[in-house]
Amino acid sequence: MSPPTRIRASAAHFLASSMFENGVCKDILDAKSLCMSSIRARRKHLGPDDSVTQSSMTLIRDICVSGDLDWALWNSMLPRSLQISATGYHLRTISNFPARIAAVTATSLGQLLSYSNDGTQSIIRLFNTETWNLVSEIKLSESVYAATVAKEKFHIIVTRQQNVSNSYYWYEAATSQSPSLPNLK
């Protein structure tokens, strides 16, 4: 990446982060635009790189936390070519970028997340870990995306680790339910 592009992408990143913190609706819309500008600049000039992916994920996570999960999930597909381990978020073995982002979101929000794929569409469900109510259900049926994840079928649960504040663990299972948690449909 050339120095002008690098500094432009970095400035966009920090500006977007600042805007998210302000939380003003107009600023958030602007911040999304900056976020994508930053990510596109990196994708254009770099191959897979851990720091790039981490920074992109951080920005998208901020958008998730701001409440626009749908937008974040769709746009998280843009940098999916950068599919490498996200060690900072303890999501090392989840290979699919949107799923990782969603799991990060669930971690941030303290919610339980279910991700499934039946070969034609992917469904991401978020549950409130206190009430077990369904918070959000997002169906991803775009053909390109479906082709990417057609053979994937897994279930992710993110929950709070007991006795450790602000710390979470997750695990992945082949079945659609966990023996220690409520049945997820």
Partner: protein, 103 residues
């Protein structure tokens, strides 16, 4: 001849200010570094002879990153906006600071 001497003195003073900024940043004294970084920017405007390694946009970016760590975050946003909008038209940007400053 006089102009040359003036230039040399200005560059020397600017270099000392820059050295001071670097010392303050290394010590984590961000609040104290901010006014001196602003001074560096003014130095860049006033110098007739500019050290090659100094670029205004690079210094603006450093100032914004430093302000982020202080209570001057609104000012930092304004600076980041300026860097973002002007970077493409400034091919002399070098990104000379440690990689931790960038993302």
């Amino acid at each position: 001849m006089v102009d040359q001497q003036d230039d040399d003195i200005e560059v020397e003073l600017a270099q000392r200010r820059w050295n001071l900024v670097q010392s303050l940043l290394v010590e984590g004294k961000n609040e104290a570094a901010v006014p001196h970084l602003k001074g560096v920017l003014l130095d860049l405007e006033g110098l007739r002879i500019r050290p090659d390694r100094w670029n205004r946009t690079d210094i603006q970016f450093l100032l914004a990153r430093t302000m982020m760590k202080t209570s001057l975050q609104d000012d930092a946003s304004i600076l980041f906006r300026g860097v973002y909008e002007s970077a493409d038209s400034n091919p002399s940007i070098r990104c000379p600071f440690p990689s931790i400053f960038y993302v």
